[in-house]
Structure formats: C-alpha cells, structure tokens
C-alpha cells in the first residue's frame, strides 16, 4: 500500500495557493481602487433602462433535464475509468461486460431521446 498522504498535501497546497492568489489580487486592488458608489451606478445593467421585474425569474425546465442525464453519464464514465486501465489484461470477459453496461446506458440515452428530453423547445 503506497501512502497517498503526500499527494493529498500537494492537492491541498495548490487549493490554498489558488485562494491566496485570488485573495491577494483582491487585496491589492482594495488598497488602490477608488470608492464612489451611487444609486445609478449600483443598479444592475439592463441596457440603461429602468429595471423591470425580478431578474431571477422562471427559466426553461430543459436545463434541468440535461443536468439529470449528465449526472448519469458522468458517474458512468467514472465507473469505466478503472476498467479502461486494466481491460487488456482482463481480456474478453471484461470487455463483454462493459459492452452490456454501455449498451444499457445507450438504451437510456435512446429512451430519453425518443421521449423528447433532448429536444430544445
């Protein structure tokens, strides 16, 4: 068993480095920038018109359907990654099992397609 701790320390370090990078850029600009807010300046941009209604209104439910299909496929690809590394050693049986797995997924995609979940209207 190889120790994975050094790897995680590296990842954490880069994570904090990213935060420091953004925060320091903000800090430098905080010291340098002017502050002169006004009502007109702070109103959200809408082509210079006076804003109508709430900006967080209703949006198309399609986005949600795409997200649902995406979740399934993303997890599936993550499952397939370990298989892809070793499938040559495992041979034909492993390949055929993955064929079944992918075909079931393809069937799901086909079903969503026929149901009109992929139709943008």
């Amino acid at each position: 068993m190889i120790s994975l701790l050094p790897d995680y320390i590296y990842i954490l370090f880069f994570f904090f480095l990213g935060i420091v990078f953004v925060a320091s850029a903000f800090a430098v600009s905080w010291f340098l920038r002017p502050r002169d807010p006004s009502v007109a300046k702070n109103s959200p941009y809408e082509c210079g018109e006076i804003i109508k209604g709430d900006s967080r209104g209703q949006f198309n439910v399609r986005y949600y359907l795409y997200a649902l299909i995406f979740v399934i496929f993303d997890v599936e690809i993550l499952f397939t990654m370990p298989w892809a590394v070793v499938f040559r050693q495992l041979g034909m049986v492993a390949y055929l099992e993955m064929v079944v797995f992918i075909l079931i997924l393809a069937l799901g995609l086909f079903y969503a397609w026929k149901k009109g979940a992929l139709q943008w209207q």
Binding site: D7, I9, Y10, I11, F13, F14, F15, L17, G18, F21, V22, A23, A25, F26, V28, S29, W30, R33, P34, R35, P37, K41, N42, S43, P44, Y45, S55, R56, G57, F59, N60, R62, Y63, Y66, A67, I69, F70, F73, D74, I77, L78, T80, M81, A84, V85, F87, R88, G91, M92, A94, Y95, M98, V99, I102, A106, L109, W113, L118, Q119, W120
Partner: protein
Amino acid sequence: MIPMLLSGLAAIGFIAFSAMFLIWLERKISAWIQNRMGPMMTGFHGTLQPIADTIKLLLKEDIVPKGVDFLSWWLAPFFVTVPVVMAFLVIPFSPKWIALDLNVGVVYICSVTSLCVLGIFMAGWGSNNKYSLLGGMRSAAQIISYEVPLLLSVLLVVMEAGTLSMQGIIHAQSHGWFILKPHLTLAFLIYFISATAEVNRVPFDIPEAESELVAGYHTEYSGMKFAMFFVAEYTNMFIISAIATTLFLGGWQGPWLPGVVWFLLKSYGVIVLLMWMRWTLPRVRMDQMMSFAWKVLTPIALLNILISGWFMVK
C-alpha cells in the same frame, strides 16, 4: 516541502504570464485576421498592453450592483480561478517539470477543471441581472453536456495507454503520437470540439454572446473580479490545450529541442487554432449546440469505444 512551494509559485507565475500573453495574442491574431494592426502603442507591437490593462483593472472601482446574492457573488471568482490553479498540479511540461505525477492525473485534471461551471453559475445567479442569469444557465447546460463526449474521448486514450498518469500517457506515445491512430484521431476531433465548448469559445460561445447577452455571466463584474474571470478563461484555454497535447500530441516528446519547448509549442499551437476559429466561424444556435452534443458526439464516442475496444482486446 521546498519543491512543493517552488512548483506552486512557478504555477502562479506561469498562469499570470500566460494569461497576459494570451490576451495580447488574441488581440493581435484578431487584428491580423481582420487586416488591422491591433495594439501598437504600449511597447514593441503592443507587448506591454496586457500590463497596462492589469494596472487599469487594479485601479477600477469595485461596483456591487443592488440586490446581489452576496455569498455567491463574492465566491464566484474564487470558484472559477482556484480550480485553474489546481489543474496545474498535473500538467507535464517536461519529463522533470511536473509538480506531482498523480497516479490518477487524468481523472484529477478533468474533475478539477469541470468545477469551473459552479463558479460560472454562481456568478450568473448572484449578479441579479437577467443577462447574467441567462448566460450562467446556458453556460452550465453547455459545459455539462459537452463534458460527456469529452470524457468519453479521454476514456479512449486511457484504454489505449493503460494508465491514468499524465507522464505514463506521454511515455505510451514514444512509438508514435496517439493522434496518428485512426480511432484516436476521431477521439481527438471529439475532444477538440467538446473542449472548445467547455471553454465557451466560438463557435460555442452562446453563454457570452456579446450581441445578445452583453457578456453573459460576468456582465456585472468589474475591476479585479472581472480580471479573475478573464484569467480563468484564458488559463482554461491553456489547460485544455495542454491536455490535448498530453493525450494526443505526444506531450513533451520531439526531436532536438528540450521537452518543455516542445510542450509549449504544441500547446500554443492548439491555442492559436482555437483563436483562429474564434475569428473565422459564426456562432451556432443553442438548440443546435445541445443536440449536437447529445445526438451526434456522445453516440459516436460510445460507438468508438465499443468498436476500438473490440480490436484492442481481440
């Protein structure tokens, strides 16, 4: 400890320098394509222009529009930029120049770069602006849709190389670049199209379509926050080109020149191609774009995996 700190600082330095250089390059390439001069005043052929832009952005007032969702408005620049920094952990610039050759490098870089979509959506939601919300929604839908064919084409490379480590994949290409094998040429095409959509570039720039959505999710951002979105956008462009170089174009391998030169040459070559496309092609429609991802690219990528898997295992 010391190599970790050094590699981190090198990554930050590279990100800042690369983003500035790419902004200059983009303006120059657009100018050449449109038969203009581009920036010429600051420095030799406008080379100091990005520095002037940075100083200007540092000195800009930070405008917070009324009614923003404060938490997501403030965290969004972090969420787009921090993953970009984290991705540099596994980019193999040369046999020696890699911060850490993770044994799951490919999965790591794909998962980290796809975190950006959170920041983009938070920016769109937090801004209290209709354009931003629309841009954020579109961007999220587009990025997650094209994530699927992108990962499927990456999967094919993993099948061919038999490893998830970035250096391991480059070593697997020592007898010929992966792009030269027919099934991986197809995978490269799928990867390149999906990656273009991932970074919201033309012809898939619906989320920031200037002529209809102003600037999409970062309409309301100003000053350094805006700069962070820009840095993330241009560095993401470098990252997807670096992944393409690693997975398909043989990474740092090449004759005569040192590895890092080859790696940068190939990566920036892919970036120039992306920029060339931006100033040449028109924008596609939203419905065309979504159905292209799900009805064309994903089935082709799945079939490609099944068929070439058969030939590999036979």
